[in-house]
Amino acid sequence: MHDTNLVLGGKDFTSRLIVGTGKYSTNEIMRQAHEESGAEIVTVAVRRVSLPGKGESILDFIDTKRFTLLPNTAGCYTADEAVRTAYLAREAGLGEMVKLEVIGDARTLFPDVQGLLEATKTLAREGFVVMPYTNDDPIIAKRLEDAGAACVMPLGAPIGSGLGIRNPYNIKIILETVSVPVIVDAGVGTASDAAIAMELGCDGVLMNTAIAGARDAVAMARAMRLAVEAGRLASKAGRIGKKLYATASSPLEGLPDWTS
């Protein structure tokens, strides 16, 4: 079946899985997991360099000609901090795309949607390709789209929780509410969670911990690639309706007569 690409900021991506670079046991495992995931976009944090500037860098394990680096604003609790981080990332040469996070609370890491909306407006106006990590709230999703977001990225569940898609109905409503791509970001625990997101009709899935924290990260990366592809295909194929009672798959006519 022919499929369209995921388009973000005018760039085409064939993979609909975006993966992180955090929490891997080793950089080499990360490199292999990226390879198996089939992802074309990998997220990175922007942090202080260790001084003096020596030691291994994740960038030694990412082919930046092949992978698009997507800087995040993780750890920012205000719109101002997030905007400054995005500018720093752009100045560092990481491009215009930004995974925008404005965190509201350390325990849940839920987004502060007021700050998020404000930062989205500012950065979109400045030419950034803004990819906001948001709540599974259709109203906010619409406002983010109106503010110039290139996509909306509702959480499936809290970051790193592995609880899966806790409110598929809201995700469905978001899909009907906005016309920009919808990418589920955070909450995925295992392959079926990613498949569910895609079956709902989402345009992509972003995850880090589900792969990096798995016992075998490289195998899980492959599982996630297959799940995203399977979910996408199923969504496009159009599933059957759900019914309470059985409908026979075999013809009712032509049964042999076994009566004595």
Binding site: T43, V44, A45, L51
Partner: protein, 66 residues
């Protein structure tokens, strides 16, 4: 003079440029950005920006994250 780099106070030569500071600290240039007192220093200005006593310098790079 004293400046603070990534939260660490250090003694450096008066009027040190951002360029010289990066060289002194052996910081890789690729995908690196610098801010002085919360303002981003464009790469093109590294050699011409002279640091002053009490400046707070942030040097950042991509690290692992989700």
């Amino acid at each position: 003079m004293k400046i603070t780099v990534n939260g660490r106070e250090m003694e450096v030569a008066d009027g040190l440029s951002v360029e010289a500071l990066l060289a002194h600290l052996a910081v890789k240039r690729e995908f690196t950005a610098v801010a002085v007192n919360r303002e981003i220093t464009p790469k093109a200005s590294y050699a011409s920006v002279a640091l002053r006593d009490g400046d707070r310098v942030e040097i950042v790079r991509p690290m692992g994250g989700g």
